[in-house]
């Protein structure tokens, strides 16, 4: 039904760019410990992220819980203040300019995981969607449409047809899939350039998910909306993403074209993530042991080294990079065209390693 439109990052300027972004959360401290002069441990939820989102591309941001992917998305939306770093929209830094921020908040819209929680249960669908327009003081569309026409257009673009039928419904009268469509319509009504979707289908029934993904992909193809899709599900990334970024402990450790990252991963963590995707007929595979890592205690060197199977197997030592793994923090390196990874071992092996 849909034709793949490969994103060509090199051809255009990013619509959104994140540079060296850091977000920290203060830890809690008991009264006694506070009086004793102890400091609360800070949680480095996002710990130096660089990311570009190009017009009309779908970028999936994947990782296990606690890796900072949701915090990154929320910070991009302006829902968390960054400690350091900047966010640039269409080449301009956001900074503190209220005018620019206001504009930004209209053109970058968020779709949350749970549509039931995202909608006001006492508001009709019409009111929920028109609220965005009112907040931004928009009473007429670009072609002179009335508010009612704009709401109807957004609903029908989100697949709620005929839109007028749903104007006076309340969220509880709709199914889960329909509610998520209403949330998406609420984003569309403001004619955004970017949609940030945090686990957009994980609270929906399996048979309904595909339709919502189809809708998102269709919006990208028709309206050229760029999407940042936060997900723990690599299968979803395989289905709709042009590029995939894998996050671990507040950093992006691998990013590149979806097909390349998911079928020929470079970083050992990406491999481990792919390993746990359920497979027909077998659970007898080696899995990464241990619990999701703790962002208050980020290990020295490569942040993945204590869990890294390449370190454990002695592969890293044999290649002579073990020291580096344990002592040198490293950034992303372009190990294949357009495919970046932060791994000492892989960086040593490239350029000609077919992995």
């Amino acid at each position: 039904m849909t034709t793949p439109t490969p994103a060509r990052p090199e051809a255009t300027e990013p619509v959104l760019e994140v540079r060296d972004l850091h977000v920290r959360f203060a830890g809690r401290l008991g009264l006694g410990a506070g009086l004793a002069g102890k400091k609360a441990t800070e949680s480095r939820a996002v710990d130096g992220v660089d990311l570009q989102l190009y017009p009309g591309e779908v970028l999936a941001l994947a990782g296990e819980s606690g890796c900072g992917k949701t915090t990154l998305a929320r910070t991009i939306m302006g829902l968390e203040p960054p400690k350091q770093g900047e966010i640039r929209f269409e080449g301009k830094p956001l900074g503190k300019s209220t005018k620019l921020l206001r504009e930004y908040r209209r053109r970058v819209q968020m779709v949350f995981q749970d549509p039931t929680a995202a909608l006001n249960p006492r508001q009709t669908i019409y009111e929920s969607i028109a609220e965005g327009l009112r907040v931004h003081g928009i009473s007429r569309g670009p072609n002179g449409e009335t508010e009612e026409q704009l709401v109807a257009l957004a609903l029908s673009r989100a697949g709620m047809r005929p839109p007028e039928r749903f104007f006076l419904n309340y969220p509880h009268e709709l199914s889960g899939g329909q509610r998520q469509r209403v949330v998406i319509a609420g984003a569309l009504v403001l004619d955004p350039e970017i949609i940030v979707a945090d686990e957009p289908v994980s609270s929906l029934d399996a048979s309904v998910r595909g339709e919502i993904l189809k809708l998102l992909l269709g919006l990208r193809n028709e309206l050229n909306i760029a999407m940042l899709v936060v997900t723990h599900d690599l299968g979803l990334a395989w289905t709709i993403a042009d590029r995939v970024a894998v996050m671990y402990l507040g950093r992006i450790v691998e990013i590149g074209p979806a097909e390349d990252v998911l079928t020929r991963p470079l970083h050992p963590y990406t491999k481990a993530l792919l390993e746990v995707v359920p497979e027909a007929g077998g659970i007898d595979r080696p899995f990464l042991a241990g619990e999701p890592p703790d962002p208050t205690r980020i290990p020295e060197g490569c942040r993945f080294n204590p869990r890294c199977p390449e370190v454990a197997s002695g592969e890293a030592a044999a290649a002579g990079v073990l020291d580096a793994c344990q002592s040198q923090d490293l950034g992303l390196g372009e190990l294949r065209p357009g495919h970046f990874a932060a791994c000492h071992l892989r960086a040593r092996e490239t350029p000609d390693d077919p992995a």
Binding site: S207, T239, T263, L273, E275, P278, F287, P292
Partner: protein, 327 residues
């Protein structure tokens, strides 16, 4: 040997708006040493089956048919017998490990409580056994003295598994045991469950909406839709070569990474699963079925033989037509 079997089980909830049939005639069979995976979406009746088997349904709920546990009808048991059977013959690993435990009791005491209540063991013996159980699920016995909040999500779910095994049951029901867990931890917990099931030769009824998880741990699958089983058979065959259009749609929702047919081609079904109080006529799936034809709204299909050890409730199967890909 059959540990659990249901015969024409129906469950109808009593509501102010009248009876709501949540389960509409289900036959299930779980044998010793076998994992039966039961899949379906929210509202299809899968959790109602669990509650019917354990007799945990609210009063006034109408239950008919038979639930045979080792040949004995659970629905006809007296209260005392039911108490004896619960946990020692049949136990459950519930979905929300976070909420299923008492937050102000040490986990050792919580495990021991089940042992003391359901076996002849004394307090001391129960504590020793609780320690052994923790080791079995991969936790050091010293964690017996921990409170639930001191454990991570995955560890709590391990404790829940230890509890389920405490009295040596014949059948373990796992109701969405990994849904709230992270992907890595989910894989570890699934592996543990599968290992223990094999080692102890348990019969297991594994329930989840996530078909891909189910295929990994189950021997056989049963797919539910609107209160009925619509397809059953060997797990891998059902997942990879579905005979019912609903199963096909469901398995299409779990893409295989690397398979290009899924790339940029999400597949789903139009519409939503029906509300149990308002099930469509004939085949309950027909309003959403891409292959529905004129007879579907009027004939409610039985489970027809659909290959080796397989059955599917679809008129196309009865006719012998292939259920082709819908997208």
């Amino acid at each position: 040997m059959s540990v659990l079997s249901t015969r024409d089980l129906t469950v109808s909830y009593h509501t102010q708006a009248g009876p709501v049939p949540a389960v509409r005639g289900v036959d299930l069979e779980v044998n010793t040493g076998e994992v039966l995976g039961l899949a379906g979406e929210s509202g299809c009746g899968k959790s109602t089956i669990v509650n019917a088997v354990l007799r945990l349904l609210p009063p006034k709920t109408e239950v008919t048919g038979e639930v045979l546990l080792n040949g004995e009808d659970v629905l006809a048991m007296k209260a005392g017998r039911l108490r004896a059977v619960r946990w020692s013959a049949i136990s459950v690993v519930f979905q929300g490990a976070m909420h299923a435990m008492n937050p102000v009791q040490r986990i050792g005491d919580q495990i021991a409580e089940a042992i003391v209540l359901h076996t002849k063991a004394g307090e001391k013996e129960a504590q020793v056994r609780a320690g052994a159980l923790l080791e079995q699920v991969g936790l050091p016995p010293r964690r017996l003295r921990d409170y639930p909040h001191e454990l991570s999500g995955g560890q709590k779910q391990r404790v829940m598994i230890a509890m389920a095994l405490a009295c040596g049951p014949d059948l373990v029901i796992a109701d969405e045991p990994t849904t709230a867990l992270d992907v890595m931890v989910q894989a570890q917990v699934l592996q543990l469950l599968k290992e223990l099931q094999r080692e102890l030769g348990l019969a297991m009824l594994f329930i989840t909406h996530d078909l891909s998880v189910l295929v990994e741990v189950s021997d056989r699958l049963a797919i539910m839709y609107a209160g009925k089983i619509v397809e059953e058979g060997p797990a891998v065959a059902v997942f990879q070569d579905p005979r019912h259009p609903y199963t096909r749609a469901l398995s299409g929702a779990f893409p295989q990474i690397g398979d290009r047919t899924f790339r940029m081609a999400p597949s789903g079904l139009p519409g939503d699963p029906p509300f149990p109080g308002n099930v469509p006529s004939g085949c309950s799936f027909h309003p959403r079925c891409p292959l529905a034809f004129e007879e579907c709204p009027t004939i409610d299909p039985d489970l027809y033989v659909a290959g080796d050890g397989r059955r599917a409730a679809c008129l196309l199967v009865k006719r012998g037509d292939p259920v082709e890909a819908a997208h």
